[in-house]
């Protein structure tokens, strides 16, 4: 990136890539001794060049072949629809050419501009319709994702809350149990009704 403001910065780049004439080269070398910005720029360019030289060159493939699946076995008893379509298309083109020639001879040519305008308008409408359809589809997908995420999140939260509630209820019950047990132990060991103590 060229960040300095010296007017000879373009010459520095050409110098780095050895694209200067000998006279220009000599002149720039003199300039480099006095301009620190250009000298720094030259160092950066040399570093970049060195890095690029380290990267191995990739051999460009001489030939690329696309291999499709094997065509299905030809069955001769099936009508050749491709050939028939070609024939129909050729007939239609010939007929249209004939009609166009006859129409041209019979009447002056229709203005082209409205047709072109109609075609452009149709193209514009198509683009708008496609853009709108894509936007709608993206919006619907996004809405579906948000809805599914919300539903999943609510399910997880509900399950977690249920677990927490169960733990809290059990903790309260366990606390009550501990109180009762403590009272039981106190009763047994701090009174004359404890086991093993005869009256």
């Amino acid at each position: 990136m060229n960040t300095h403001s010296c007017e000879k910065s373009d010459l520095v780049r050409d110098y780095a890539f050895d694209e200067l004439a000998p006279a220009e080269r000599k002149s720039l070398e003199q300039h480099l001794t006095g301009c620190s910005d250009c000298a720094a720029e030259l160092d950066r360019l040399r570093l970049t060049t060195a890095v690029l030289r380290v990267i191995p060159d990739q051999e460009v493939p001489r030939r690329i072949a696309f291999v499709s699946d094997a065509p299905p076995a030809r069955r001769w008893f099936v009508p050749n629809l491709g050939f028939a379509s070609a024939c129909v298309l050729a007939a239609a083109i010939s007929f249209s050419a004939y009609r166009f020639t006859a129409f041209s001879n019979a009447a002056p040519a229709a203005p082209v501009a409205p047709v072109t305008q109609t075609a452009q308008l149709s193209q514009s409408q198509i683009e708008q319709a496609v853009t709108k359809a894509v936007s709608d589809a993206v919006a619907k997908t996004h809405a579906d994702d948000v809805q599914m995420t919300d539903a999943a999140l609510k399910a997880v939260e509900s399950k977690y809350a249920q677990q927490q509630n169960q733990v809290m209820v059990a903790a309260q019950e366990y606390l009550d149990l501990q109180k009762k047990q403590l009272h039981t132990y106190n009763t047994l060991y701090n009174s004359d009704t404890r086991p093993g103590v005869s009256q």
Partner: protein
């Protein structure tokens, strides 16, 4: 004058005698000490497993939650009530928040199996109380009532919350005298589960 003095003296003596009669404390037919004896051996029976006093603790001890307390209701009988958990159950905690169905089923199965043992033990206590409460009128009853503790997450199917055993003292004494079998004694004890 003499008759008046005689009447006055008689009234004073009567007042003193009445006061002496009212102030005298009479021992209940079933004394508190007798009730305490039954409470003690009942607690000992269930608390030994809980606290580990007995060396013959089974592998799945019950847990005495509330000690036995007894009372006597004249012309009805002696009633003893206590609370326990048939087995110890581990509740959920932040480190083990969800009790699995397998764990709940395991706890339930352990309690159902322990209930059978508990009933035998409780019948023995009823018979023992009948022989211990010597001052209890023989036509009155011995009642033992157990409340079972359980957590709300447990499966309580086929498990009572309360078990009551009632028996006529005289019938029990007669059965003990003729050395009745445990099955014959059990037939004399009415059980009620709720």
């Amino acid at each position: 004058m003499k008759p008046l003095a005689l009447i006055t003296l008689t009234a004073a003596l009567t007042t003193i005698a009445t006061a002496a009669t009212l102030g005298a404390s009479t021992e209940p037919v079933v004394s508190l000490s007798a009730l305490r004896t039954v409470e003690t051996f009942t607690n000992e029976k269930f608390a030994t497993e809980t606290i580990g006093l007995s060396r013959n603790v089974s592998g799945d001890p019950w847990d005495l939650v509330g000690t036995a307390r007894g009372t006597w209701l004249p012309s009805y009988g002696a009633i003893f009530t206590f609370e326990l958990s048939l087995v110890t159950v581990t509740p959920p905690s932040p480190f083990h928040p969800v009790i699995s169905k397998e764990e709940i089923k395991s706890d339930h199965d352990r309690k159902v199996a322990k209930l059978v043992v508990f009933k035998d033990t409780m019948r023995d206590l009823v018979v023992r109380a009948a022989t211990s409460l010597t001052t209890l009128p023989s036509d009155e009853s011995i009642i033992f009532e157990a409340y079972f503790f359980s957590f709300s997450f447990e499966d309580r199917n086929h498990l009572p919350r309360r078990l009551t055993m009632t028996a006529n003292r005289q019938k029990l004494l007669d059965a003990v005298a003729r050395k009745a079998t445990p099955a014959e004694l059990a037939a004399l004890i009415e059980e009620r589960e709720e």
